[in-house]
Amino acid sequence: MGEISVTAEVSEKLRALPESSAIAMRLKSEQYFDAIQGMIDRFAMKKDLEVVYVTSTIPSQSIINALEVLEIPMDHIWFVDCISQIMMSQEKRHPHAIIVESPTMLENIMLKVEFLLRRVPERNALVVLDSINSLAIHNNTKILSEFLHILVNNLRSRGAYTVIFSMQEYETEEIRNMLVLVSDETIELGG
C-alpha cells in the first residue's frame, strides 16, 4: 500500500499546483519509481502534457523499460539522456531518447530541451530533471545554479511545469539552497 500512496501523493500534490510551477521533489531512493509513475502516468498523462525527461541518474532505457511494464504510452514522452554515452552503454537507443554526451554539457541539455519543446509549441509540457544530485556529482555548484536558474526561468515563461528530483540521502546543504533559490514549491514525499 505504501507504494500506491507515493504514486497518489505525487500526482495529487502536482495537480494542486498551477502551470509554470517549478517544483523541487525531495524523495528517498525506494520511492523513485513510484514517484515517476505518479508524475508521468497519474499527472502528466491525465493533464495531456508533453513530457521531457532529463536523466543523468540512470540510462533512459531503464526508465523506458519501467514505463513499458506499467503500460504507459510513450507517444508524448521524450528523454534527454546525459548518462548513457558517458557509461559507454551498448543498449539500443530508443527513438524518443536524445543523447547528451555528458552531464557536464549543461548548455546542451538546455538546447535539447528547447529542441523537444519547439516541436510541439501548441502543447503544454512537464520537464523533469532527474536528478540534481547526479548533476551535482559532475558539475560545481556555481555552474549548476546558473544552469537551473536559466532553465527554470525559461520553462516558467513557456508555462511548463518543472520538476527537479532530489534524493534525500544524497542532499547537501548546497543542493538544498539551490533548490530553494529556483523552485516555487517543495514536495517532500512521506513514507
Binding site: 555528458s102 549543461l106 548548455e107 546542451n108 538546447l111 528547447e114 529542441f115 556555481k142 555552474i143 544552469f147
Partner: protein
C-alpha cells in the same frame, strides 16, 4: 549604407528567422548589411547561412547561395534536413544555389589569380545577378576562397567595397563566410574582410573540461545594439538553436 529607416530612426531589419540571432540583434540584421560569418571548420557557418536563406525564401524574399568550394549538389546532400525546408522554394526560384566556378567559366576567368579587371567583373556580375533576380538575401561561401584568387589586399578591398556598396543599395543582406583556423587571431584571412563588413558573427569551438561546445558570438553589427556575449549553438532539424554560455567560474579557454 542604410537602405530604409523606420520613423523612430531604427534601420529596417532583415529578420533572419533564426529566433535566437534575431533576439540577440534586437530584431534582426539591419537590412542591406554585409556580415562576415567567421569560424573554423565544423562550427556551423554553412548551416546558419542555409537556414538564413531558407527562412528568407519562406518569407517571400528571393535568396541566393553562391558556393565556391563545394558543388551545391554535394552540399545539399550533406546539409541538415531542416523540418521547415520545402523543395518548392527551389522550384519557384525563391531559393537558388549557384556554383561560382561555373560563373568564372562563363566570365572567361581561367587564371588562378584575378587581376583588377576580373575582380571588378566578378563583383559587377554578382551585383547584376542580385538586381536581375531581385535577391534580398545572399550568401557567399566562402569569401576566403574568392580572396585566395584575388590575392592582393588592395584588390580584395576593392572587391568587397564594390560588392558591399551595390548590394546594400539594393537592400540585399549578405553573409560572407570566412574560414579561419581555430588558432588564428582576427576574424578573416586577410583582415580586410572584417574591417569592411558591417557585422561580424564568430562561430567556434570551446573546450571546457574535455567537452567541446559549439559557440557563436556577435562581435560587431552596425545599425543595431546587440549582445556581445558568447552563446552555445546546436544545429538541429528545427534550425539553429542557441543558449547562453554558462560561466560558472569554470571557463578556461576562448572560442
Amino acid at each position: 549604407m542604410p537602405t530604409k529607416e523606420h520613423a523612430d530612426g531604427e534601420r529596417e531589419r532583415c529578420v533572419t528567422g533564426i529566433d535566437a540571432i534575431d533576439h540577440i540583434l534586437n530584431g534582426g540584421i539591419p537590412r542591406g548589411n554585409t556580415v562576415l560569418i567567421s569560424g573554423s571548420v565544423g562550427t556551423g557557418k554553412t548551416s546558419i547561412c542555409i537556414e538564413f536563406l531558407i527562412r528568407g525564401a519562406i518569407n517571400g524574399e528571393n535568396s541566393l547561395y553562391l558556393s565556391v568550394t563545394e558543388p551545391t549538389d554535394k552540399l545539399l546532400q550533406n546539409v541538415i534536413p531542416f523540418d521547415f525546408f520545402d523543395d518548392r522554394l527551389a522550384r519557384q526560384g525563391k531559393l537558388q544555389f549557384l556554383d561560382l566556378p561555373k560563373m568564372y567559366e562563363k566570365l572567361g576567368i581561367d587564371r588562378e589569380d584575378l587581376d583588377l579587371d576580373q575582380t571588378r567583373l566578378l563583383a559587377d556580375t554578382i551585383a547584376g545577378l542580385v538586381e536581375e533576380q531581385k535577391i534580398k538575401r545572399l550568401v557567399l561561401d566562402s569569401v576566403t576562397s574568392v580572396c585566395y584568387r584575388i590575392r592582393e589586399q588592395e584588390r580584395i578591398r576593392d572587391f568587397l567595397l564594390r560588392l558591399g556598396t551595390v548590394l546594400s543599395a539594393k537592400g540585399c543582406t549578405t553573409l560572407l563566410v570566412s574560414e579561419i583556423r581555430s588558432s588564428e587571431e582576427g576574424y578573416s584571412q586577410w583582415g580586410v574582410e572584417e574591417a569592411l563588413a558591417d557585422g561580424v558573427i564568430v562561430t567556434g569551438n570551446l573546450e571546457r573540461r574535455g567537452d567541446l561546445l559549439r559557440t557563436l558570438q556577435i562581435v560587431k553589427m552596425r545599425g543595431t545594439t546587440h549582445s556581445r556575449a558568447k552563446y552555445v549553438l546546436d544545429l538541429t532539424t528545427s534550425g539553429v538553436l542557441l543558449v547562453p554560455l554558462l560561466k560558472g567560474g569554470s571557463v578556461t579557454g576562448g572560442g
